[in-house]
């Protein structure tokens, strides 16, 4: 891919001034790339972009504070960086962003569903991209899947495919997939009765193994090593294997992200047992966007729950 080479050139150009550039390289199997930390020219050669460039490299930024780091970013990744910068958690001048037009990334669960009856995604031996499709080499022969069918949900509602805040942008900017996020997914979820929603979360959360991959893959989770999930002071959670504590942790995470979450979806992707965690965060995002008109990752200034207005025209307080 030409654009991949252009990105490589862009990386090579800036690499000397940076401690490293984070992008994507080959992963453990054909359908998965891995985050790639590029420190020399040989590393740059391993760089890949495209449909498998799933991981959000912004995740690594807070831990790399103090040294200037380059990131190759999709539009959604750039929003995570933007939010970190808005909250002064990362210094903008310590980050060099290389953007490129992102046309979507793969969703492993959707791929698994598309392959059902044929094989597991873990059995796919090879992958090539053709037009808007991916062609998979499976034990039972080639399978062609439309990218749009197996792309992540967030890509179908992508408003910012081009990392607008990039220091360098490689390639031509492309049009957003949608103009606004209508939260249709939430609306669909809310077709369920209240009790059914409860039951849904009870069931989903009962699978949770408390590995905290959701938390550790979240680029905006700032507490990291000091998460309240395991603390006794304060003691918000017990270690009992109950749905209540598991769900409550998700509420802690979602609450802490209210107004800050950019919807990158890494929490949900990282969850090994497939709990739809982004739904909770998007419920908060919908609220915050509606009430305060704040778009995390794009707007400057503190997120809305860390500030206030004397008059809140959007808040209709209930009369008693």
């Amino acid at each position: 891919m030409a654009i991949q080479d252009d990105i490589k050139s862009a990386i090579a150009e800036v690499l000397p001034g940076l401690s490293c550039v984070i992008g994507w390289g080959a992963g453990p199997e054909p359908l998965r790339a891995a985050p790639l930390f590029m420190r020399d020219a040989a590393d740059v050669e391993k760089f890949t972009a495209g449909f498998l460039a799933v991981n959000n490299p912004a995740l690594f930024l807070p831990a790399l504070k103090g040294a200037k780091v380059g990131l190759v970013v999709k539009g959604c990744d750039a929003r995570s960086v933007g939010q970190l910068v808005a909250e002064n958690l990362v210094k903008r001048e310590e980050v060099h962003l290389i953007g490129y037009p992102c046309r979507g990334i793969i969703d492993m669960d959707k791929t698994a569903a598309a392959l059902e009856g044929r094989c597991e995604p873990g059995e796919v031996k090879g992958l090539r991209e053709e037009d808007g499709d991916i062609v998979l080499d499976t034990p039972g022969g080639e399978v062609r899947l439309a990218k749009t069918d197996v792309a992540a949900d967030k890509c179908a509602r992508c408003r910012y495919p081009n990392a607008e805040s990039a220091d360098v942008f490689v390639g031509e900017k492309i049009a957003p997939v949608v103009e606004r996020d209508d939260y249709a997914d939430l609306a669909a979820f809310e077709n369920m009765e209240l009790d059914a929603r409860k039951a849904f979360w009870e069931m989903e959360m009962s699978r949770c193994i408390r590995c905290y991959a959701c938390r550790n893959s979240c680029p905006l989770c700032v507490c990291r090593d000091h998460c309240v999930a395991a603390s006794r002071e304060p003691h918000w959670l017990t270690q009992a294997d109950g749905v209540r504590d598991k769900l409550f942790f998700q509420l802690i995470h979602a609450t802490h992200l209210a107004g800050r979450c950019t919807g990158c979806g890494e929490c949900e992707r990282a969850c090994p047992v497939g709990i739809p965690l982004l739904t909770l965060k998007r419920a908060f995002s919908r609220q915050v966007e509606g009430l305060f008109g704040y778009t995390a990752g794009l707007d400057q200034g503190m997120p809305p729950l860390l500030t206030f207005k004397l008059e809140e025209p959007a808040i209709k307080e209930r009369e008693w």
Binding site: E87, V222, C223, H226, S231, P234, L306
Partner: protein, 652 residues
């Protein structure tokens, strides 16, 4: 931990609807409870002694008292446990009176609820830690906001005791409403004769700095160390040069200015000295009426001023001051009576307010003490006083009694007769409220000696007919309609908190009620304190009151301020936020939200961390609710303590 639980009967206040013994017996099964009993009056001396004895006998390390609201007796019991050798914060209260026994009669439900509230208190107490206050120095200076009679009294008392006092007055002169009065009830002595010398005292007192024509711009800091910014409004006259000679006011060509001091009775000039006895006696220009400002052409005052004090370019000035305590004495204003369309809504010139009438009566007023009808300058013979115009009227949202109108109306009726011996006064009243030394005798005198006709009833309509005003109303004692042909109608307009009082309250961080009156700390026991330490109340700003009461409260506020500022050091409340540096990741979110700028970033071995400035922290806990990892905790209200209370109630 060894906890003692004391369930107070409060006589029958609690025991009437709560089975206190049963609550105590349930409480004895709670974790760490070593002793539980019920007690007749926990707050009385025998009760406190019993608590102390129990602490000693049962080697208690924490105490729960279930009684009235902690807003009432928490300080009392804290002192009690302290006397027994415990730390004052190893104590919790369960409010089983205001929140239980007084709001329902169901014994079973109340007893159960009381038990649960005790359980919550015990659960929290188990996590309480000993807290020790820190000492900090006090600024021995008092700010008095408002230069009416209450503020003057507070300032003089405090200054006489040796305290430095700053007085801030919005108007160009101090004196407040009292300065506008002609005479005072029930002695009918001259208002300015008794107030004037006190005003002069303020001006001359070495310990008092007066900022007239100034307002409090902002207040930060905390008890003992408030930082105040005062806005000295531009008077366009350099007061350091102005001698108060008044030449400018004589020559000013703009003679149709609204006369604020005289309540608009007659016009005045654009450059004014409010009244001859004004303190400070300095001129100031009312910009909106001044030709120089409106047309750019005039400059008469600048030309005639012998000391060259006029300065049209003058800007507002800001003065920063540090004070240890604040007395709010912002007084009252009359409500906007023109909502009463039945009295003309302001359309009839001969319907005046009581304060306007006061200016007409005053020898130093615009009419020189001659009562004249505003419409034609004639002397009225029939004067009708209507009381409760904007008081005790639910229909316009003013259910309260303004308190002093009955008395001043009586006084004005007397003065009317004194001024115009052949006049007749009619007073429409709802009730005569005259409790006070010599007050009721006074209202009788006006009826018996001065033949004022008191008519018990409301006036339904006032309308002009020829040169007269027809006052139509009901006489509820006679059960008839009455119509009086009046030459002048005087409305006893209800009072309300001074304009802008809520605004000041917000700056002072004190509460105010729905009418703008400042909330005292306790309606009976802390009538001059507020719930914000170091802020005191004097006069009508706290609730309407007459001159003697205002003066008394002014002295009381001064006494409270003196008690506070007589100390060199104050103890800081240890119920403040504290950072666990091991958990803090230096994300700055607490710093971002702190309303008091009480958190700063420090560098700890190369890591950014938050640090609480202990004397600045007010203990709101906003940082605690904001910190995602719970690294900053509000002492005495930690996450774990609140969670313990929640989980005492709901945990499967």
């Amino acid at each position: 931990m060894r906890i003692g639980v004391f369930i107070c009967h409060c006589g029958s206040n609690i025991a009437g609807t709560v089975d206190c013994a049963s609550v105590a017996s349930v409480a004895s099964t709670y974790p760490d409870v070593a002793y539980a009993t019920d007690i007749m009056y926990a707050c009385a001396e025998p009760g406190q002694d019993a608590i102390i004895a129990a602490i000693k006998e049962h080697r208690l390390t924490g105490v729960v008292v279930a009684s009235c609201t902690p807003r009432m007796h928490e300080p009392t019991f804290r002192k009690t446990v302290e006397r027994a050798g415990l730390n004052r914060y190893m104590f919790e209260m369960a409010n089983i009176r205001e929140h239980v026994s007084w709001i329902g009669k169901d014994m079973e439900a109340n007893t159960n609820k009381a038990s649960e509230l005790v359980r919550m208190a015990v659960s929290k107490l188990r996590l309480n830690r000993e807290l020790k206050p820190k000492s900090f120095p006090v600024t021995k200076r008092l700010l008095v906001v408002g230069g009416g009679v209450a503020g003057i009294q507070a300032a003089l008392d405090a200054a006489d005791a040796g305290l430095e006092v700053l007085m801030v007055e919005k108007q160009p002169t101090i004196g407040g409403k009292m300065a506008k009065l002609d005479k005072t009830f029930p002695t009918v002595d001259c208002s300015s004769c008794i107030l004037g010398p006190r005003m002069v005292d303020v001006a001359q007192h070495p310990n008092i700095t007066l900022y007239a024509y100034s307002e409090v711009e902002s207040i930060s800091g905390y008890v003992g160390n408030f930082d105040v910014k005062i806005r000295k409004k531009a008077a366009y006259v350099d007061w350091s040069k102005c001698t108060g000679c008044g030449l400018c006011t004589e020559k000013c060509p703009s003679k149709k200015s609204y006369d604020r001091f005289n309540e608009g009775v007659g016009p005045t000039t654009a450059i004014i000295i409010p009244f001859p006895q004004a303190i400070p006696k300095k001129a100031s220009i009312e910009r909106e009426y001044c030709r120089q400002f409106n047309t750019g052409k005039c400059g008469v005052c600048a030309k005639v001023c012998p000391t060259g004090a006029i300065n049209y370019e003058m800007q507002d000035e800001f003065i920063d001051a540090k004070v240890g305590g604040i007395v709010a004495a912002t007084g009252y204003d009359l409500m906007d009576w023109t909502v009463y369309q039945e009295y003309g809504g302001g359309r009839y010139p001969d319907v005046v307010t009581s304060l306007q009438y006061e200016r007409m009566l005053s020898a130093s007023g615009p009419t020189g003490g001659h009562i004249k009808r505003p419409s034609d300058g004639e002397e009225p013979k029939d004067v009708v006083f209507i009381q409760c115009v904007g008081s005790r009227d639910v229909s316009i949202g003013r259910p309260y009694c303004s308190g002093f109108c009955c008395m001043y109306t009586a006084k004005q009726a007397i003065l009317t007769k004194d001024h115009i011996p052949d006049s007749h006064s009619y007073v429409f009243y709802m009730d005569i409220r005259s409790p006070g030394k010599g007050y009721d005798e006074f209202t009788r005198r006006v009826q018996e000696e001065y033949q004022a006709r008191y008519i018990r009833g409301r006036v339904s309509m006032v309308y002009p007919k020829g040169k007269k005003l027809i006052v139509r109303g009901a006489d509820t004692l006679m059960g008839t309609q009455v119509e009086v042909e009046a030459d002048l109608v005087v409305l006893a307009v209800g009072a309300e908190a001074a304009k802008g009082a809520p605004h000041l309250a917000e700056k002072l961080r004190i509460s105010y009620d729905s009418y703008g009156f400042f909330m005292e700390g306790h309606p009976k026991l802390r009538p001059v304190e507020t719930n914000t330490a170091g802020v005191f109340l004097a006069g009508a700003c706290q609730g309407l009151k007459d001159i003697p009461s205002s003066v008394a409260q002014g002295s009381a506020a001064a006494a409270k301020a003196l008690a506070l500022l007589s100390r060199d050091m104050l103890d800081s409340d240890p119920q403040i936020a504290a950072v666990n540096v091991n958990r803090c990741v230096g994300c700055r979110k607490c710093i971002e939200v702190c309303p008091f700028k009480a958190i700063q970033e420090i560098d700890l071995r190369g890591q950014p961390k938050a640090e609480v400035i202990e004397t600045v922290c007010q203990g709101c806990g906003l940082c605690n609710a904001t910190c995602p990892q719970g690294a900053i905790q509000l002492s005495h209200f930690t996450d774990n303590q609140l969670l313990a209370e929640v989980e005492a109630l709901c945990r499967f």
